[in-house]
Each structure stands twice: as C-alpha cells, then as structure tokens.
C-alpha cells in the first residue's frame, strides 16, 4: 500500500521538492495553452489590418512590428535591460524596506497607532504623482526611477504584510500560548509560515506595479529605457517601434511576475491557492 511505504521514507524535504517540481511542470503545461491563445490573437490582428485597410502609421501589422524592431534590436534590448534594472532593484529594495516595517507595525501597538494610520491615508495618494518631484530633485539618472518604483511597490507589500502578521487564526494563537513558547520560537515555527500566503499577495501585486512605475518614471524625465523609447518613437510617428517597446515591457512584467510566482510555489506549496492550480 502506498501509505505504508511512504511512511518509511519520512523525509519531508524529498517529498517537498518532488512536489515543487510537479508544480513547476504543471505551470509549464498551462503556459502552452496561453501561448496558443496569443498566437491566435496575433494571427487575427495580422489579417484584420488588410481586411479593414488600416493605415500602418495608425496600427501596424505584427509581422511589420517584428521586422522593424529587429532592425532596432540593439537599442531595444539595452533599454529593456535599463528598465528591467530599475524595476527589479526598486522591487527588491521595496520588499527589504516594507516587510520589516509591516512586521514592526503588526507587532507594535505604538506603531499601529501612529505610523499605520499615516500609511493608510498615504495609500489614497497616487504615488506616481510624486514622480515629477523626484525627477526634479534627483535628475535624469537611475536613482529617481528606482525611488519611484519603490514608492509604487512599497504600499501593497506593507499593507499585506500587516494583514498577514495580524491575522493568525485564534485557535493557533491559543495553541502557541499554551505551549509557553517565547516570541522568537513562536514567530519562526508558526507566525511566519502562517503569514507567508498573505505576504505573497502583496509581493505579486507589487511585481505588477514595478514595471508600470519604471515606465511612467521614464515618461516623465529620462534619456534611456523603454518608457523613454516609446515616447520618442511615438513622437516620430513610428507606432511599430512603440509596439515593440510595449511588447518588451509586457515580457518584462511577465518575467518578474513569473519569478515571484515560482518563488511562491517553492515557499508555500502547501497553500490552497498553490495546490488548486495543479
């Protein structure tokens, strides 16, 4: 019987990594379905341009976009690297700042009564509105873009971290207290793992914001990056190249979100949101 044999190899690590592998493969097979849909979408686009006689300075064909952007590939790739760098650095710094702050607010009454209401009211401010100010303060370099990315990633991470660390099930809270465990032990054995699923909600939300923040920051004041590129080529009546930039931004966003999703699968394979996907 399977259950009898599995009890013999009682090594949680092997069964865990085997399970993670299965999740990853499951993810791949699902992305083939996506791919089929996208290919269909581009075929319809390609045919429609001729069918309805749309001029190419309004909306170019995908094939034309591909050919024209190939000619400008060097610049596009370099700008992808720049925008990606801004997004990823800002995102990572946002996590490093926001998670400890979320923890502090969750576990400190004083913080909850002072800093927390302040952040909640700031949540209503569109963070991107600060972008022109940062550009004027810090100039055209990477730094103001990274700060803007931090700004748009920070809030979803903080707010979800606070929620995560304050919503341990009541019975678990009581169970922990009944063991007499100290705060550190209780944190690492119960509070932290229990909080991870809600933390990842924030991480994923922020991953979406990261590329948006980087792009808009480049719109406002920049001399490189995909946001800068899209603005310039659109001004030059080159929608084909603008689409190439948009396509690369999409890939960038997908890659960042995909990496975070993979990390989530590895970190919380036991969670219902992860298990339900396979």
């Amino acid at each position: 019987m399977a259950t009898a044999s599995s009890s013999l190899d009682r090594d949680p690590e092997t069964s865990r990594s085997r399970r993670s592998l299965r999740f990853l493969l499951g993810g791949l097979s699902r992305s083939w379905m996506f791919l089929a849909f996208f290919v269909g979408f581009f075929i319809v686009w390609e045919i429609s341009i001729d069918l309805f006689g749309i001029p190419k300075y309004i909306l170019p064909k995908p094939s034309e976009i591909a050919v024209k952007s190939w000619a400008d590939a060097d610049r596009l790739l370099y700008y992808t690297w720049i925008t990606g760098l801004e997004a990823v650095l800002g995102y990572i710094i946002a996590i490093l700042l926001a998670v400890p702050l979320g923890l502090a607010i969750a576990f400190s009454r004083v913080m909850r009564q002072t800093v927390y209401p302040f952040f909640v009211s700031l949540e209503m401010t569109p963070k991107i509105a600060f972008a022109p100010l940062f550009i004027s303060w810090l100039g055209f370099g990477l730094l103001p873009k990274i700060i803007i990315v931090i700004l748009v990633c920070f809030f979803p991470i903080v707010l979800n971290a606070i929620l995560a660390f304050t919503s341990l099930a009541e019975e678990l809270e009581r169970f922990v207290r009944s063991t007499g465990a100290g705060p550190t032990r209780a944190f690492f054995k119960v509070r932290l793992p229990a909080a991870l699923p809600q933390c990842f909600v924030g991480f994923k939300y922020a991953a979406i914001n990261a590329t948006v923040g980087a792009t808009i920051a480049e719109f406002i004041g920049s001399d490189e990056g995909l946001g800068f590129y899209i603005q310039i080529v659109t001004g030059n009546m080159r929608p084909d190249l603008a689409f190439a930039g948009i396509f690369l931004l999409t890939l960038l966003g997908l890659a960042l979100f995909g990496i975070v999703s993979v990390v989530e699968r590895l970190a919380i394979p036991w969670h219902i949101s992860v298990r339900r996907k396979t």
Partner: protein, 255 residues
C-alpha cells in the same frame, strides 16, 4: 500528578454596554485529582469559554479558577488541550504537527521519535505520518490533533468536543481508547461534549450547563463500574442516567 481544579464564582461577559454577551456563569465547581468531568450542554452555552478560562487562555470577568490551589493568571503550559477547531498547521505533515508541540516547548522531537510513533499508531495514523492535514479526512485530522495534544505527556487534559467530527464507529472506538487511557494513567480530564451518551459513558461526573447564559445547573455523579463497555451501556443503570439527563434538558427547553 494530575491536578485538581476549582472554579469559583466564575462569570464571563464578552464586550460591554448593550452589545455585551453574557456567555457564562456565575458558577462554581470542584474537580478532584484524576476525575473525568464532562461539561454537557447545547451549543452556545459557554462550554468552550469555560474551558479556555480554565486553561488560562481567556480572562474571566469575575471569579477565579484555581489549579492545585493556585489561582490561574496566565496560560497553563503543562496541560494537554484539544481545541474545538483543530490546531494542525497546513505546512507541516501529521508527524511535523505532532512534533510542533514539542518544538514550541524547546524540545528536540527526534529524541521522542518512539513516543510520536506509538501515539500515531494508537489512533491508527501510523501510515499517514508524512501526509499533510489537507490530505486527511476530518476524523483523521481530529485524531492527529489528539496526538498533538498528548505528545508532551500531560496529566491534565482539556478536550473541547474532541470527537465532534468523527463518524459513529470511529467515535465509539476512540471513546474506548480514551477510557482505557484514563483508567491506566488517571489524568484529570475536562471533557466538553454535547452528547449525553458520551458524557455518561466516560465521566465520573457530568455537569449539566443551561442554555444561555450558561450555568452549571446540576452535577451528576455517574457511579457505574468501569470499563463501561457495550454491556454496561445497554444496562438499565446506564440507560437510566441517560434518561434522567434527557429529562433535565427537556426541562430547560432544549430537547
């Protein structure tokens, strides 16, 4: 040594003002060392509340609980508790969940390997040690929670409807196991249930709790011989106790 428990003028009111819920009391009760006492009453009468106050996990509004003559002021850490909702965590296996109790107490579970194994075997979970809780039926989860509550070898046990999610057959067999355990080790047991039969079969004393606000209205000594197996349960004395209690709850307007 198993503990004695004294409940003295205990009241619990949740909230205040017009929203306040009078959940329990005032009531007093003495539970001697090694007794098996059931708290029996309809749902919402404050059984869980009383149990949590005894465990030191909830503060009474007035009155006090004394365990071995000492007033309870914080969580009791040397007892075994089975909560109404099980406290298995989804990121650990059955084995890991049982070990969690030891780890939270700063002990190394691999030193207690044999104890964990025999506990799991005693509730027929030995083939499921490396399954996660979500791979188990409700009844199996409850059996795992039982092992989690017992692994540090407590001699005072607070059980909140531990057999609630079990099917009738498993329930019967775990009752027998529980009785065997109690007879051999004589822990003090506070056992919350809403099954009259279960209370009469297991307990040396049954406390009848009135509907809201819950009060311990009657304490009935069950002086039937142990072990109370199927023969005892079909005997006239057993049936008499069940009938008597049914009649009292009927009087409360519950049955």
């Amino acid at each position: 040594m198993s503990a004695s428990i004294d409940i003295d003028g205990l009241t619990k009111v949740f909230g205040s003002g017009p929203e306040a819920v009078h959940a329990f009391g005032p009531s007093s009760l003495h539970i001697g060392k090694g007794e098996f006492v059931s708290l029996l009453g309809p749902s919402g009468c404050g059984k869980s509340t009383l149990m949590l106050i005894i465990a030191g996990l909830l503060e009474p509004t007035s009155g006090e609980v004394r365990v071995d003559e000492k007033t309870v002021t914080g969580p009791l850490t040397d007892i075994g508790i089975m909560f109404q909702d099980n406290t298995l965590v989804p990121w650990r296996t059955v084995w890991g969940n049982v070990a969690l109790q030891l780890e939270l107490r700063g002990e190394n579970p691999s030193r207690h390997r044999q104890r964990i194994e025999s506990l799991l075997a005693s509730v027929k979970l030995d083939g499921f040690a490396d399954r996660h809780p979500y791979e188990l039926s409700g009844g199996m989860q409850q059996r795992a929670a039982f092992c989690q509550a017992m692994v540090h070898d407590p001699d005072t046990l607070l059980f909140d409807e531990p057999l609630g999610k079990l099917d009738a057959m498993t329930r019967e067999s775990i009752r027998t196991d529980l009785q065997t355990l109690w007879l051999s080790k004589r822990p003090t047991v506070v056992f919350v249930t809403h099954s009259i039969e279960e209370a009469v079969q297991l307990s040396s004393k049954v406390c009848l709790i009135t509907p809201r606000p819950g009060r311990i209205d009657r304490v009935i000594d069950i002086d039937l011989p142990y072990p109370r197996d199927l023969d005892v349960k079909s005997g006239a004395d057993f049936v008499g106790h069940v009938r008597e209690i049914q009649a009292i709850f009927h009087g409360y307007g519950v049955l």
